[in-house]
Symmetry: C2
Subunit: 199 residues, 2 copies
């Protein structure tokens, strides 16, 4: 089961963002919302074996992690607005201590920074960082159960890369051009689908 | 320069659709809007060599064709809402006879049915139909200047397939799973990018 982690540096951690202004009041939440649908949907259905975690690092309550589990998710549609409404609902969920709280079916939220998310998501799994300077994805045997890590439109910071390096992250590239995060997930899924078909 | 054509069977041909209800009042215009950004945007920029035509076949004024030219387009952002606003503006453009009318920079609109769009877009170009029963895209030399044709969430009708067959359309598949139209464009672009890099 592939897992994805996308870091949103400016993404809002308040539920008060406006669904008709995801780019502004949402702190480019539109980028992350498209990652949800890219990771979990194909034509007419969900990818039941995918899990996506969004790390929201914008004001006012950073950090927050929201996890979307393809096996359990319901009512996920491909459009941005209704998907952003699921994030809004997650951000409305009261949090106590550092426990994952269920927000809606298949969606959980917690107070988590990158190190803590990696402790949970990366333990016992290969960590693969999508990076234009990496090895060609088509020439690498991609572990089906790895954690694939992507930055938002701003990429990842040096500190974040160092945190990933401490966990032995391997860098993999998807092609000649730099893609948006949601596009990268689509291409990566296609490669995983093909490698799975060949096995 | 690759060209893309996406057929939206229920997509509205009225500018009165609501930007906060693209799925309902827009007749699943959300599907087509995501195709615009998949075809024309990469990270931090436009694909200047791509052209996308949307064929809108929903009420009340079908058919309409809207063309997005990556070389000339301005102010295209990756979020659905602002991209849908460009389609709305195109649909507000008064049309006379069968002439393409400029709606905004890089966006033109005309009264066109599939046959007429193909007369213009497919003449002198290979026509490639994205189809799960086709040849593997990675095993085919994809012409850089072909017209790539995709259906919306409902696929293409028998009549539309026959129209494409009359123009010698070749069927090509992208992978083991059936993808959403915008996802298919992303995977196709990646393959075109890679084949171009190798040449």
């Amino acid at each position: 089961m592939p897992r994805f982690l996308v870091v949103g540096h400016r993404a809002t951690t308040s539920s008060t963002f406006r669904l008709d202004d995801l780019t502004g009041t949402g702190g480019r939440l539109d980028v992350l919302v498209r990652c949800i649908t890219s990771a979990l949907l194909v034509s007419h259905g969900a990818r039941r074996d995918s899990v996506l975690t969004l790390l929201l690092l914008g004001p006012p309550a950073a950090p927050r992690a929201v996890r979307f589990d393809g096996a359990r998710i319901q009512r996920l549609n491909p459009d941005e607005r209704s998907t952003a409404a699921l994030v809004k609902r997650a951000l409305e969920t009261p949090l106590t201590a550092h426990v994952w709280q269920p927000a809606s079916p298949g969606i959980d939220i917690a107070k988590r920074n990158l190190a803590r998310v990696l402790d949970e998501e990366a333990t016992g799994r290969a960590v693969i960082l999508l990076d234009e300077a990496g090895d060609d994805a088509r020439a690498v045997e991609l572990p089906a159960d790895a954690l694939y890590v992507l930055g938002d439109h701003e990429g990842l910071t040096e500190e974040e890369r160092a945190e990933l390096d401490r966990r032995g992250a391997r860098r993999v590239r998807l092609g000649p051009l730099s893609l948006q995060a949601d596009q990268a997930i689509v291409v990566l899924h296609n490669e995983l689908d093909r490698q799975r078909e060949k096995r």
